[in-house]
Point group: C2
Chain length 450, copies 2
């Protein structure tokens, strides 16, 4: 189990620091993966963090630790490390990771680091920093292999060994024309199989996917996931190859986006913030509850409006919870299905009427079913047909409106390019509550007056 392992690791590190068991500590630190260290770090004091950081022998491991740490921990940690050493570590890291880290630092610190870095490296990083964080440009790495289409297979092999020795994992070899435009792709295997004098353009595959620098990262991730590829090339608006987005970054994006959607739908903020502070969490959750509070206050006035009916038939109140509950729940089902369907590509924005029609049908069928069921309970409990019929009709009305609103609102939001996950929370639940309560009292006042 992950959790147990990290608990054990954190405990033993703290124990060893207390006992000042330097050599033992050094051994553990260097045996542990940086990703695991990064989980343990926030639970240690700053001086312990610095001590452990100093013990890491492998400079690349220091880099991995940097990029795995959460933003706050990283920013605090590097305040305690000599700037020269920070730069030394950053220079060993992949450019996109460095750009990511620097992009999140206060501007002053970021500039100090960029100034210290070697010119070539800092230019590449500044190049990446130009792009929006959440686009293909912001997440791409400039480390890829691009070969000229006129080159022979034999020359290509030599070039890979000589010119591109620093490219970590050459997933694909991209082929460009004389203007640097992406024209094809070949695999390492193909290169070895053909005879050495064959020019690349004769056996390259011209059917190559690419994305543009300004494409949203979520869309990039979906393309990589859909076509089961390990990396996708990124081109600028002249179709010039400028970078690649690799599958490991795609995994992180897909997880983040799913988490964002889930939390937004529940009105609990967009991302997991450091879970330690009660105050911070309260602040994030307060606004959405405020929307629901306003809806609730509106309901106070609506129900208050029917005070006469309530005075006469007090048990009308007894059905408010079940009517609200049934509407709220089916509305959540509909909006969840639509939001997740849109996110995974199962549902398309264009299908708005098909989707809404289907949800409305489900809402009507379930509304009739539960309307009859709950109406029957009302009849058994109070033996008054007008009440039973009002309750049944109110359930039917509430559930079908809920299914309609729950599917229509996120579809409309998606169409005007607003994140549909944000919509489901406040809008849908609050409006369903108000409609349900209003419909119920209108129907019952009408029927009871007959």
């Amino acid at each position: 189990m992950f959790s147990d392992r990290h608990k054990v690791l954190s405990d033993s590190i703290r124990r060893l620091i207390r006992r000042n068991a330097v050599s033992h500590l050094r051994k553990i630190v260097n045996k542990t993966h940086a990703a695991d260290l990064s989980i343990v770090f926030p639970s240690l004091t700053m001086s312990s963090q610095l001590k452990i950081f100093g013990m890491i022998k492998d400079i690349e491991k220091k880099g991995t630790l940097f990029s795995e740490l959460d933003q706050d921990t990283f920013a605090e940690l590097i305040e305690g490390i000599d700037l020269d050493e920070v730069v030394e570590v950053l220079e060993e890291m992949a450019t996109d990771d460095v750009a990511d880290l620097i992009g999140r630092l206060p501007e002053e610190k970021a500039n100090a680091i960029l100034e210290k870095m070697k010119k070539e490296g800092s230019e590449r990083i500044e190049g990446l920093l130009r792009y929006d964080d959440e686009t293909a440009g912001g997440i791409m790495v400039p480390d890829f292999i691009a070969l000229k289409e006129e080159m022979t297979a034999g020359d290509a092999i030599t070039s890979i060994q000589q010119d591109f020795a620093e490219v970590e994992m050459p997933f694909y070899l991209y082929v460009v024309n004389e203007y640097g435009k992406l024209v094809g792709v070949i695999s390492l295997r193909q290169l070895v199989v053909v005879s050495p004098e064959t020019p690349l353009k004769e056996f390259m595959s011209t059917d190559v996917f690419s994305v543009t620098t300004d494409m949203d990262q979520e869309e990039v991730a979906r393309i990589v996931a859909r076509y089961d590829i390990l990396a996708v090339p990124v081109v600028d608006n002249m179709n010039k190859l400028v970078g690649i987005v690799t599958v490991d970054d795609v995994i992180d994006i897909l997880r983040e986006e799913a988490t964002e959607d889930i939390l937004r739908m529940a009105g609990a903020g967009g991302e997991f913030v450091e879970t330690k502070s009660v105050f911070k969490s309260t602040k994030i959750r307060l606004p959405w509850l405020f929307a629901s509070c306003l809806g609730g206050i509106a309901a106070v006035f609506i129900v208050g409006h029917f005070e006469q009916s309530l005075k006469q038939y007090a048990y009308l109140a007894a059905f408010i919870p079940v009517i609200m509950g049934m509407g709220g729940n089916i509305g959540t089902q509909s909006s969840t299905i639509v939001v997740r369907g849109l996110a995974t590509g199962v549902i398309h924005v264009r299908e708005i009427w098909r989707v809404v029609y289907k949800e409305l049908s489900v809402g009507l069928i379930l509304g009739v079913f539960y309307g009859i069921l709950i109406g029957a309970v009302a009849q058994l409990r109070y033996s008054m047909a007008a009440i039973a019929i009002s309750v049944g009709l109110a359930v039917l009305c509430s559930m079908s409106v809920a299914a309609l609103v729950g599917s229509l609102v996120p579809m409309l939001f998606a169409r005007i390019r607003v994140d549909p996950a944000v919509a489901t929370g406040p809008f849908v639940t609050t409006s369903i509550d108000i409609v349900s309560v209003f419909a119920y009292f209108e129907i019952s006042t009408l029927l009871l007056a007959l």
Copy 2:
């Protein structure tokens, strides 16, 4: 945009079939990626599907199409294709994908296919079918490169070219001892850099992650995501290397699991079923609504119990919606944070008291805030201190209980190893509704009697 592209593709395929424009159709079919064809397929008639399938020239593309199609479409399609051709396509596919497809077919059909397949291939597939679908064993591929630790780098290179030519993407080269046990890992790059007579065990990395065949696929996916690796080796209970799980499968698993969690939390089934049938959707969503219906009926009896208070102070009813709404919404926030936190590893099962304590604190703070706010509204509207105080206290009580139940229930479910996403739906919402309403009427009856 994806959606638009598929709509256009589907429309033009149907138009070309109607016009019987064979050569044009053939061109489009062979230019389109199998993943895109698979999305369009369900919208076509069976005869069109068969016609298009017959036009695909590349047998590997036929295989990709097979594995990308949804289960029902695939099962129907192969009924129309000659068994020999099906087998021919399957034999070109990766073993894990074949096992996956065959595992979902009716037994009779599966056996017929396995019998027709070449002995070696069918044995490997039957080997994979032994493992549970959702474990490392069920998702691994047996296509990996394993080299003996005594081998030299030079011999290793020859061996890779000769013995492992069919391995598609050699991400990592695994090193095993004389008993086939996994002892290390090297990269293709390292192999080229060292001098040819160096034995592998002298430069291999012994720090190799592995998972066992029975590990849950979700945990495997989390390991691959956490350590940013492209493949993880799978060992049996003797630590013998039997397969690898690759990153493309991991992406699919992470997306599926996120979807499952989201839908389960909303009580809308576990996975996206084919979205065409209203009846099917209704059937999936009915049961959870039933749980909420039972809760609502319980509320009928609870509120009914306080008929006397309601007759006297009809406006008590006006606050039911806001009290239920505030409790329900903060409960959803808490349970969503906990469920997603557990799924992504931000929250650990062991931290039950820390997490619940924190949620309860947030619930209390927000409860005091909104209790005062809504109480003040009540005072302004009805100018009766007893009502205002009851409403305020009921909001406080409802919100803190909701935060407590919303976090405690999923944590407890996770501890007894039941999917916490299932818990959040029915249990949490229904119990919060009942507690809220009951607390409200108890408090107000008490205060109004004073």
